[in-house]
């Protein structure tokens, strides 16, 4: 590995890497593996291009967003933690009031490692899922955003690997290798979470993924940024700032589709968006239903002893824990709809056991806010009778208490047969997918954009839309 002074330039960091022999040794092994992984399964066909990317070079206000044209394999993936808070105390769970842990408590070493590995595994997984998307980019602006998301997922992987290397010894180094060995969709070595094993090969899905699935990531990061294990809390806090861009890509991406579809509807005598080569609202709604449900699954079971353990052990808090009045979550209940003998029954669940659901509540609210925004875009365009909606949270679930059961988008129970008969009403059919795929025609001319998508309101970092975001 390079000499110390070069090292800090090569790998921007605020963890004193040049003086940390343990971390240097670990990275010496891991960094070449990471670069090989990026070349093997990172964005396909663009590794030699200059991309206008944001690089974090420090955690200061002007340092975390440094823009430049750079080849992706030369991207400086760095290691950043939010600045330490002096004498931080644990502020929830059974260890409330004690000083935050600066080292991993042995008692929780294994569950912490599992939390970090599970979170970390999603980062390279999403890069793998999206590796072919570049070839059908709707504009250079979108192409650049895709790559920004990809390199930052890579950086988030680095963030998790930093924790594994620094705090988990040999096991941590092995787990870090494992993060590069699993492959999205490879049945022999799949990524840990099911949702991260299906390819994302159209841009509607990409926008939905960054809107809904990355938003799960936001809530997980917020919950972990409360952690009593201080390095994890600080790492996650810094990741949140980057994750915001991913959700921006998703939320505005869907909004730009909505805007374009209203324009196309108005162009067509029968308001037939598909006839005009756009994405009709019915199809948009089906993709929304699919991605929302699969993302809800990522929060885990509604009633979860793991969730209770994580909270009790002061390892994972709630979204903005400080805003809650009480922080032990003992002796309190959460009213939840559970299924008993095929009927929905309201039950009191001990609050700690319901922590996944508590986190999911905030997420649902956040998603609703975005949907309202899209609906305003429709209204502003003067279209009536069209409204996008979040399906009921029981709809199409594969994890938790609703898994294996069937509900319509309003949350009414259905038989398996009836669900099967009607699922094309709610979820993308083969025909829908074929149609969406047919729209995926690349547009790589500067300042141009594909027919089904509206240009963004503004470009990146004050640049216009008509800018060479990717230099071939």
């Amino acid at each position: 590995m390079a000499i110390a002074s070069e090292l800090d330039t090569l790998i921007p960091n605020n963890v004193n890497l040049s003086a940390d022999r343990k971390l240097q040794r670990a990275l010496e092994q891991w960094q070449p593996s990471f670069l090989r992984w990026w070349q093997d399964v990172g964005p396909e066909g663009f590794q030699g291009d200059q991309v206008y990317l944001r690089t974090a070079i420090s955690v200061d206000t002007d340092g975390w967003a440094h823009f430049d044209h750079v080849k992706m394999p030369d991207y400086r993936w760095g290691i950043f933690l939010s600045p330490a808070e002096a004498e931080r105390k644990i502020h929830f769970g059974d260890f409330m009031g004690q000083p935050a842990w600066q080292e991993v408590p042995g008692e929780f070493r294994n569950i912490l490692r599992r939390i970090i590995v599970t979170q970390g595994d999603t980062e390279p997984a999403s890069v793998e899922q999206q590796r072919r998307l570049g070839q059908t980019a709707p504009s250079l602006y979108d192409l650049r955003n895709l790559f920004q998301v990809n390199v930052e997922e890579g950086r988030h992987l680095w963030a998790m690997v930093y924790l594994l290397h620094s705090y988990f010894g040999r096991d941590g180094r092995e787990e870090a290798e494992g993060l590069l060995e699993r492959r999205s969709g490879d049945s022999d070595k799949p990524r840990i979470l099911g949702a991260f094993n299906a390819p994302i090969d159209d841009w509607l899905s990409f926008f939905m993924f960054t809107m809904f699935t990355d938003r799960d990531g936001k809530y997980q990061l917020y919950a972990l940024s409360e952690s009593g294990f201080d390095p994890l809390a600080r790492t996650c806090k810094f990741m949140i700032t980057e994750e915001a861009h991913h959700m921006f890509v998703g939320e505005t991406g869907v909004d730009r589709i909505v805007r374009r579809s209203t324009e196309l509807a108005k162009l067509d005598p029968n308001a037939d968006v598909r006839k005009q080569g756009g994405i009709d609202f019915a199809t948009l709604q089906k993709y929304l239903n699919y991605w929302y449900a699969i993302s809800l699954d990522l929060f885990g079971g509604e009633i979860s002893s793991n969730a209770a353990d994580f909270f009790g052990a002061s390892l994972k808090g709630r979204f903005k824990e400080a805003q809650h009045e009480e922080h032990t979550a003992l002796g309190q209940h959460y009213d939840m709809d559970v299924i008993e003998d095929g009927k929905v029954v309201r039950k009191e669940i001990p609050l700690r056991t319901a922590m996944n659901e508590v986190l999911r509540d905030g997420y649902v609210e956040d998603c609703q806010r975005a949907v309202n925004k899209w609906n305003r875009t429709i209204q502003d365009a003067g279209l009536t009778g069209i409204e996008l909606r979040l399906p009921h949270r029981r709809f199409n679930r594969n994890q938790g208490i609703y898994a294996g059961l069937h509900f319509d988008v309003e949350g009414n129970p259905l038989s398996a047969d009836e669900f099967k008969r009607r699922q094309d009403e709610w979820l993308p059919s083969e025909a829908d997918r074929t149609y969406i795929h047919s729209l995926m025609q690349p547009v790589v001319e500067r300042g141009k954009i594909v027919n089904w998508l509206a240009p963004p309101a503004r470009g990146i970092n004050g640049q216009p839309f008509d800018f060479e975001y990717v230099r071939r």
């Binding site: 059974d94 294994n110 569950i111 022999d188 070595k189 002893s305 909270f311 009790g312």
Partner: protein, 560 residues
């Protein structure tokens, strides 16, 4: 009513007979010399209400079916040389005993549940060791706790390599109890995992996967998902090739025993066995009758006599009666064992088996092995057993003598007008070993080993006097004293602490060497049963009690 209350109240009587056509939780299929036994536990079919059997976790109901399958594979499918044990859930092989069931069960139920599951796993090893019917665990996903213990009961383990599936024993770290279904013992005794590796593994809740699992001898092979099926099949065939099972053997279907159950379960009558419980006295009378008429004397005759021959039928009945006794009559402290019938008929049946087995009859061998297992179940039953010789037809001869030898004491009515009919037989010399490998005669005469040879060399049917001289009788008394002697002994016994008696009997019944089996029952289970009663596991703030609940356990840190 909580599950706990449900266990304290009189529970509905359990029955232990089943049949593959009625399995809820397993699928049993056959492909020539291979059988596949696939765990497919139905979440919503627990034995008792109050918990769900998620992730292929098991309760007694699941294990009763497993036990039935192991037994039937041996008798009904001698053509099977390897049994592939697998699971049908995605990414899960078996998550072990259901924690919520354990957490809510009474102590007595937990202990008997564990004992039964241990006996079932030993019967799998017995099948491999003595019948050459091999077992291969095809761990297609998470293999945790009792799931890994089940895999360890197999000859070989193949684990899927998918980056996440691990084998694990999370009991100590997560639940503050032990992997008590043979787990710790098999780790170091059977699989010969280095003890420091075993120590690390047994405290690592998430377990060990991939190459390290092989390096540490925790599994025999790993295979990625795409090659898993082929790897399993190749290993299964290799195991089958080394199996000494005879070619062309024709299976013997085991018919249902269908006992008559009376007095709300207090009386159970089989063809040869009767169990009669006296709730008020906390005693039970267990009586076994000798066969009548001519007994099969060759391999062909044994095959022809089939499942109805006494040696198989009567011991299946005894087995079923012992299980009912254990689970349905927790309060019974003393069991009076009696026999009746013609000692020559028992000896003839034993001789037939002995001759046929020596001539290579697989069925004779299976019947004898089965008798041995049932007798070991008797040795391991935590009740005081008194053999009683008081009837005109008492018949502790041959294989029935084992009942007297298994008993904690033998009471005999010394009456010259009533011959006692004790006799050693051809199976007494080693065909029916105890868990620690000794015969019951050897275990009885640790201090006078010469008596064993003397007895085996004698074909004499003994009366009480001779039996007493031979050291087979604890107390012999005449007809004036006998009834009182026995009554007082029983009343005295049932008044003593059941816990102390259990510990005492288990210590006295097995003098001599240890085997993996006795370590499982005498060391692992004993520690487990102690831990089950400790606050750190089952107290209000114990880890087992609080598993799945929002609070974290609080331990009493004092070590003993």
């Amino acid at each position: 009513m909580s599950l706990k209350d449900a266990h304290d109240a009189p529970a509905p009587a359990l029955a232990f007979e089943t049949h593959p056509s009625r399995y809820k939780h397993w699928k049993l299929t056959f492909e020539g010399e291979l059988a596949r036994l696939t765990m497919s536990v139905q979440d919503h079919e627990p034995l008792r209400p109050g918990y769900e059997l998620k992730l292929n976790s098991y309760d007694l109901g699941v294990d009763i079916e497993l036990c039935d399958a192991v037994q039937r594979l041996r008798f009904e499918h001698p053509e099977v040389r390897t049994v592939i044990l697998s699971g049908d859930k995605d990414r899960v092989f078996c998550a072990g005993a259901n924690i919520h069931m354990l957490g809510a069960s009474s102590h007595a139920f937990k202990v008997n549940f564990c004992k039964y599951t241990n006996e079932t796993r030993l019967s799998m090893e017995d099948a491999s060791q003595h019948s050459g019917q091999r077992w291969l665990a095809a761990c297609n996903g998470t293999t945790a706790g009792g799931g890994y213990e089940l895999a360890m009961a197999c000859d070989e383990i193949v684990l899927i390599e998918d980056g996440s599936s691990a084998v694990s024993l999370p009991e100590v770290a997560l639940l503050a109890v032990l992997p008590g279904t043979g787990g710790l013992t098999r780790l170091v005794d059977k699989r010969k995992v280095r003890r420091d590796h075993a120590d690390v593994f047994s405290t690592l809740a998430e377990g060990i996967k991939g190459k390290r699992a092989v390096e540490w001898r925790l599994v025999d092979a790993i295979a990625p998902r795409s090659k898993f099926g082929d790897a399993v099949l190749a290993r299964a065939r290799a195991l089958a090739a080394r199996s000494p099972m005879p070619a062309g053997a024709k299976g013997l279907p085991l018919p249902a025993l269908e006992p008559t159950v009376e007095d709300g379960g207090d009386t159970v009558r089989y063809r040869h066995v009767t169990l009669k419980v006296d709730r008020a006295a906390r005693t039970a009378a267990l009586t076994m009758a000798a066969p009548t008429g001519a007994q099969p004397d060759s391999a062909a005759a044994i095959a022809a006599a089939g499942a109805e021959q006494w040696s198989l039928r009567a011991f299946r009945e005894l087995d079923d009666a012992l299980l009912r006794l254990r689970f349905n009559h927790e309060q019974v402290g003393v069991v009076l064992l009696r026999t009746s019938g013609d000692p020559q008929a028992v000896l003839a049946a034993d001789r037939g088996l002995h001759t046929a087995q020596a001539a290579g009859s697989w069925l004779a061998r299976e019947i004898v092995l089965h008798m041995a297992r049932v007798l070991r179940r008797l040795d391991l039953t935590a009740r005081s057993f008194f053999a009683v010789i008081d009837g005109p037809e008492s018949c502790f001869a041959g294989s029935l003598l084992e009942l007297a030898l298994a008993a904690d004491r033998v009471y005999a009515l010394d009456d010259s007008k009533r011959p006692a009919h004790l006799a050693v037989g051809p199976l007494s010399g080693g065909a029916l070993p105890m868990s620690h490998g000794l015969t019951r005669l050897q275990a009885r005469f640790m201090g006078e080993p010469g008596r064993v040879g003397d007895l085996l060399g004698s074909a004499e049917v003994m009366d009480v006097e001779a039996a007493q001289a031979a050291g087979l009788i604890t107390v012999a008394s005449d007809d004036i004293d006998f009834a009182d002697e026995l009554r007082i002994a029983v009343e005295e016994r049932v008044a003593m602490s059941p816990d102390a008696l259990t510990g005492m009997e288990a210590s006295l019944r097995f003098p001599g060497p240890e085997t993996a089996d006795t370590k499982i029952f005498g060391r692992l289970s004993a520690w487990q049963n102690w831990i089950f009663t400790r606050g750190n596991a089952t107290g209000e703030k114990g880890a087992l009690t609080l598993y799945g609940k929002p609070e974290r356990p609080v331990f009493d840190w004092r070590r003993t």
